[in-house]
Assembly symmetry: C2
DNA sequence: CCTATATATTCAAATATTATTATATTTTTA
DNA sequence: TAAAAATATAATAATATTTGAATATATAGG
């Protein structure tokens, strides 16, 4: 059960192109920092910064393999969120029926759906 | 099909406590600005700013009812994302098997899952 | 124990986001 | 048509995020 603040925080931490790419790769398997250097066009320190942020929020973790840090996914909501983002919906939600009520609205009527 | 930048942008725009509350309410039905004033503890101009941001990103829209602006959801991914955030997973993802390979890793072995 | 490799940390500058305050716009109603 | 209700806009100040550059740490191997 995430609080409102925690839900916002989680999305905020994911919401960066580099971090999304990192998480997408981690859904496929373990990766070390220099693996990320191959496809992210940002500096190594910057990669480490993003990884630290994700880890400080309990989204990923790592184990050591010699001098490599092997990062892996921990938070199970991540693959599900990434899947939604890839999905294409093609349709907007149906517009509300002609004149639904808001608290102060004048026109009676029910919301469709 | 959202680009990487668009996916990050979408999450960034959702990722604020007030905006998440707004979107949660809009999944239930149409609401006007003064409806939001009842449960959001922020000023009216601030509410309008959040609504504008969401609308500029095509996430919500409104129709007029007299002098009320009745806002409603447009982007169909929103209810799905909000559902994921509420869901509780209770379990972390399984830790990777003992010694999975990264590109440079020394130990052979496959990633679990 | 010295060196190279892999990665992290720190600090500062640039930029972006957020909330506040004051003011403007639009529509209804008297 | 003037006032009021509902909402938006603009400008600013406060704060947070992001990146870059330099430096630090840790481990493996010689």
């Amino acid at each position: 059960m995430r609080s409102l603040g925690q839900r916002a925080e989680l999305l905020r931490v994911i919401a960066h192109p580099a971090r999304i790419r990192i998480l997408e790769e981690l859904t496929k398997g373990v990766k070390c920092v220099s693996d990320f250097e191959e496809f992210l066009e940002i500096s190594q320190p910057n990669i480490s910064q993003h990884l630290s942020l994700l880890r400080n929020h309990g989204i990923i973790d790592y184990y050591m393999d010699g001098r490599l840090r092997c990062y892996f996914l921990v938070d199970p909501v991540i693959p599900d969120i990434l899947k939604l983002l890839e999905q294409d919906y093609s349709e907007s939600l149906p517009a509300p029926a002609c004149c639904p009520v808001t608290k102060k609205g004048k026109y009676p009527g029910e919301m469709r759906r």
